[in-house]
């Protein structure tokens, strides 16, 4: 970063003795000495990097970081309360103490009675109860016309602290004993998602553990914007920041006004 060409030094007018031995002063534009690289030193000595929504050790996916001014944008994005989308993989037949497949085994159960239709029924109920929680925690008076209009458009969401809420959940793949869900949620932790998988197993009169939690969208940032491990170099980071600037600005303006 420091090797990149920086700002051109400022210029100012100074009255210097005329060249060629003439008498008098000539106004010339010279660079300010204080801006000289040897006087100033390296432009960046440390960078402030902030992290966005937490991601577990066992989970993977999109992780948003803010650099410098981006930290302030991070707090604004947090106050927008946008949803995040996860792909959660599960396995029927086992129950462990920390709800993931690396934990201590608590119980094994049969699962051949489970069908995709039963799973979808349970998912519909989860979606329904969470939709109710969404409306209740949004702190709107349900008797007003604005609340009705927002509910019709589906724009009601809690704009303050609230317990984890799942706004949408559906089954992507189902091959016994494995299944994969796509969960769209607010204010959650990855352990909460693993607990949801465990509870789905209990509702289906069996047991389930979570094998994979992968965040595929965090607010406006999707997998396409995310940088892989091989791309963690200055040029790609700069390009990524440049590409996302517009998206972030429009989203913050739209939500926070």
């Amino acid at each position: 970063l420091n090797a990149a060409p920086g700002r051109a030094p400022r210029q100012h007018v100074r009255f210097l003795p005329a060249p060629g031995g003439e008498v008098g002063l000539v106004a010339t534009r010279v660079p300010v000495l204080a801006d000289h690289p040897l006087v100033r030193g390296p432009r960046f000595r440390k960078l402030k990097i902030g992290a966005g929504h937490r991601l577990d050790v066992k989970a993977s996916g999109v992780f948003v970081l803010g650099v410098g001014h981006g930290n302030k944008l991070l707090t604004d994005l947090y106050n927008c309360h946008l949803t995040k989308v996860y792909t959660v993989g599960g396995l029927f037949g086992k129950a462990t103490d920390d709800f993931s497949d690396t934990g201590k085994l608590v119980e094994k159960t049969t699962f051949d009675h489970i069908t995709r239709e039963k799973l979808e029924r349970i998912l519909a109920v989860i979606q329904g109860t969470n939709h109710k929680a969404l409306l209740m925690h949004s702190n709107l008076d349900m008797k007003t016309q604005e609340a009705y209009e927002l509910a019709v458009k589906g724009l009601i969401r809690p704009m303050g602290k609230s317990p984890p809420i799942i706004t949408a959940i559906r089954c992507l793949q189902f091959t016994l004993p494995e299944f994969q869900l796509e969960i769209q949620c607010l204010h959650e932790t990855q352990q909460y998602l693993r607990k949801i998988v465990h509870e789905i197993g209990l509702e289906l009169k069996s047991s389930a553990v979570c094998t994979q939690v992968r965040r595929i969208r965090d607010g406006v940032f999707t997998l396409d914007d995310a940088l892989l491990r091989t791309q963690w170099n200055l040029q790609s980071i700069q390009n990524a920041i440049w590409d996302c600037q517009l998206k972030v600005k429009t989203e913050i303006e739209k939500t926070l006004g």
Binding site: K108, K143, Q145, Y148, A151, A168, R170, Q184, K205
Partner: protein, 452 residues
Amino acid sequence: RALRAALRAARPPAPALRRGLAKPAGPRSVRQLREAEEAAPVFQYAGKAAKRKDRVFVWGFSYSGALGVPSFVKPDVGWKKRRRIQSTPYRLETEQKISSAACGYGFTLLSSETTDITKVWGMGLNKDSQLGFQRSLRDQTKGYEYVLEPSPIPLPLEKPQQTRVLQVSCGRAHSLILTDSEGVFTMGNNSYGQCGRKVVEDETYSESHLIHQLKEFDSRVVQVVCGQDHSLFRTKKGAVYACGWGADGQTGLGHYNITSVPTKLRGDIAGVNIIQVSSYGDCCLAVSDEGDVFGWGNSEYLQLASVTETTQVNVPRHLPFKIGKVKEAACGGTGNMVLTEEGNVFVWGYGILGKGPNLIETAVPEMIPPSLFGCSDFSPDIHVAHIRCGLSQFAALTNRGELFVWGKNLRGCLGTGRMEDQYFPWRVTVPGEVVDVACGVDHMVSMVKSFM
């Protein structure tokens, strides 16, 4: 040598008396964990052929006994308190699978399609014998005025072990029971002839044993509907019969008098094959097989204002709505609702109609946006499958088995857990898939299938 013997005696005791610490210490290796997992026993909680259980949930005002839970009214244990309002669904244990339920004004009827002797149970208000005669245990000559538990209603059937009860319906103080081969049984208040028999002056209806049987219709009766003080019968041939109070024209027979014998309706319905009739207050709606809606009765709340300015209509009139083919209609006290083939819900009338606090009355049907019932880009195939009306409440069942209610929350009858009125459709959390719901004045009953 003596030293060696002393040392041997001082040695720790023989292995047989040692504690069984035979396993080595330290974390187990991956292979050991895997073997331990495979050796663990497998539990089975539900087999492949596990059937889904049928349950009944009730909620609303309980002091009339209409919820069928006696401990809400008279607690059986010292620490329990009387519960006036059950604001969330509460499970009611029944002996048989309940196929049809109906809520009247303070009482409930449940019926099952069994061939056992007991087919119908009733609970709640019994001051007009709308639940038949319930013999009191304390005094064998008197009957109960309030029935707190689902009690069997003895029906005078000719073939009690063959006839099945198809449907029940309840009005303000009378009830109708439809059987498959023995016609319709009516009981309760008959001061306006709503039970289909001649009005007897100064008849005392409480503690009455009289259950009237109606058989003379042009064909088999397939649906019975009770309005507040009148009764409607729909036959297989598509005709509608009515009897009872007619001062608002709700009998649809062309006059405003009482009718005590079920008489066929004419007007715009004559010759039309009606597939569904609905009523709860003093207005009635009928749906034909072609998807047209006909209405008659009270129109003080703009229910029929699209065809006439009069406030009482005593002849069925066709309501020319351009909303598509209508599949089902439901009448409330002041508001009406229809469901079209595409799964859209239209409301009109007066009161809390479900489109926010600004829509209080309208004479023309307005559609409730499907997004309020859960339809979104994530799940686009959700639509409303059935609709029901209480006196000032509306209920809608989606094809996913979710129940949405809205309207005036009289004594907690909406089941949302809150006591405030609901101005747009709100989900009721029921632990199961809701198959059917019956709405009353201040309570509701739902038939639910468990998830597994």
